[in-house]
Amino acid sequence: MATTSMTMAKALNEGLRRAMEKDKKVLLMGEDIGKLGGVFRITDGLQKDFGEDRVIDAPLAESAIVGTAVGLAIRGYRTVCEIQFDGFVYPAFDQIVSQVAKLRKRSEGAYTMGLVIRLPFQGGIGAIEHHSESPEAYFAHTAGLRVVSCSTPNDAYWMIQQSIEHDDPIIFCEPKSRYWEKGEVDLDNAPHGLFDAVVRREGNDVTVIGYGSSVKTILRAAATAATEGVSMEVIDARSVAPLDIAPMIKSLEKTGHLVVVQEAPHTASVGSEIVAELTERCFYSLRAPGIRVSGYHVPYPPSRIEDDYRPSVDRILDAVDRVMGFES
């Protein structure tokens, strides 16, 4: 297994490049993705190499980016839409919910909505408002969509390719705070299926589930917990919707304790879903109720205090303590 070290940003760039090389019908569309390479440089160099017809700098209108991608899908193209920041996906919400999610069904399979909506999401980069949102629950709730999130460069490289190849529309959530962290990428073999949850660290006492940028935070919490004698099993959900529930059940049957971590506020969230679903399936294995560690139920705060909004190592450890101490 030959691996190369690269950042998640570079891995996404390479993944997009490879997908475009493989399939001429793959297009990229978004704001500032051409010469500028996107504000995060994820599409750096791609317009130069694939031309303006395949890497399309869009006028500034998100509903149009997604709406025209729908038309392109009907024509047989596979468009990867870049939404510049999470908080700017809402103007496209109608097209996503009313059309992208429903057109395959409405056409009884005549249309293939093979499009990917890339969403740099979550906070932690010290940005101003609307640049740090976690809108994944909106899409997870929507029948007809799939939602995935990568947490490592290797996953980023493979999951973006797998998403482009997949025939269902996919909301691809990229943890922007991890774009510049490096990791090993295996250029030959995909590590996992697109919709697989993965155990990132094995443990016996408590199962902690997260995705995107939270995974690393949880792993740091796990390291600390270990020094205090608590063995955390860490699961990267990867597929936010549908959930890959089997490895989660397996883990819970072992640990009996559940903590879910997310940056989104907890009401009607993916975290609520994981807790509700696992409670239903593992009721007798659970020795305490599952607990969510989430963003607070307020608009994302000014970033000087965002670290006290986002689930921190401390808050995760506190939740682990609470769930472990529940019986006593």
């Binding site: 017809d53 006028p59 209108a61 709406g67 038309g71 409405r106 056409s107 007809g144």
Partner: protein
């Protein structure tokens, strides 16, 4: 004449009108063909309305009054063109070859679509106002990338013209010089909202501000609609970019069978428009100008009746779908919640599991 800015080739009395830029290219047979289409579509509409009254349809969106706009536009299309309708384009669907019974599946509430859009090159009805305009532009961008000489046409109403999606589609069509024709049927009303609330100047002028031509055509004059649309489509096919056509017409009936137009508009207005009836106008031309005999009209009427009869039979034969079909095609790939839903439905005895 309703308006000086209006392209008209046939007066309400069925007399030919000359126009500096447009003249009818159609021969007698072709004009008779358009008449036939209009009669059939009107019949289709009336049959559907009565099917709805008899409880056989959940809803119907009548097209009466707009036959010339839809048939003129629909017949101007080339087979390889692609069309993106809203929910009232039964006349266009007819021209694209969509079987009438398929048009009624949505209204019988047995389907959310009804036909194979790729086969007829006619997209499924779009109910959310304006969404389809962006699909059309995207599709047209695909046509450009394929290097193909095809045009794309999308239909929306005067009401939908206020939606952000329609307006963004103007921006995009201009920016990418997309081969798309925007066909706006200004039927004067969006449910109870008069078109003057959507724009205080003639709607077709909106295009110019986005950098492409707009034109207003007498939407009750099938000859004019045909020529104006044909030229716009040809222009699009050869790289001339988008055009907005405003077909100035009238919704003779209710918005849908759920609507009660007496609450918001006066009979006198409807009366005025009766005199501009699109079908009678061509008939007058054919009778007076072309000396067409009564037999020919009778034959069309018979054909329309036969269509209606078959339509009624087909609709009555559309049974309740097996509920388990709701899971089909929701996703392309395997999905645990779909499997779970199917299983539950079978366990509850709601479905035998047939698919």
């Amino acid at each position: 004449m309703i308006d000086e800015e209006l392209v008209q080739l046939l007066s309400p009395e069925g007399e030919r009108v000359s126009h500096p830029q447009y003249q009818s290219s159609l021969n007698d047979e072709e004009i008779f063909g358009l008449y036939r289409d209009m009669v059939i579509v009107r019949r289709l509409c009336n049959e559907s309305t009565s099917l709805q009254r008899q409880g056989q349809l959940a809803l119907w969106a009548p097209v009466q009054g707009q036959e010339a706009a839809q048939i003129g536009a629909g017949r101007a299309l080339a087979p390889m063109d692609f069309t993106f309708p809203s929910y009232r384009e039964h006349g266009v669907a007819w021209c694209r070859g969509v079987p009438p019974e398929d048009m009624l599946r949505v209204f019988r509430a047995v389907s959310n679509g009804g036909w194979d859009p790729q086969r007829y090159r006619h997209a499924l009805p779009t109910i959310v106002l304006g969404n389809q305009a962006l699909h059309a532009v995207g599709y047209a961008m695909g046509v450009q990338r394929d290097g193909s000489e095809e045009a794309v046409m999308t239909f929306f109403g005067d009401g939908a013209s206020s939606q952000g999606d329609v307006l963004e589609s103007f921006v995009w069509a201009a920016s990418f010089n997309a081969p798309v024709v925007f066909f706006c049927q200004n039927n004067q009303w969006g449910i109870s909202t008069p078109s003057t609330l959507q724009s205080r100047v003639p709607l077709y002028r909106r295009a110019q501000g986005f950098g492409f031509p707009g034109i207003r055509v007498d939407g009750n004059d099938v000859l004019a609609v045909y020529e104006v649309t044909k030229r716009a489509l040809e222009n699009a096919r050869v790289g001339g970019g988008p055009t907005l056509i405003e077909a100035f017409t009238y919704r003779m009936g209710a918005h849908t069978t759920s609507d009660d137009p007496t609450r918001y508009r006066v009979d006198a207005e409807v009366e005025v428009w009766k005199h501009r009836d699109p079908v009678e106008r061509v008939k007058a031309l054919l009778v007076r100008g072309h000396n067409l005999k009564a037999a020919a009209f009778d034959q069309v009427a018979a054909e329309a009746d036969a269509m209606a009869l078959k339509l009624r039979d087909d609709v009555l034969a559309m049974g309740r779908p097996d509920p388990i079909t709701m899971f089909d095609n929701a996703y392309a790939g395997a999905h645990p919640l779909i499997e779970e839903g199917r299983r539950e439905m079978i366990e509850l005895g709601i479905s035998g599991g047939a698919r």
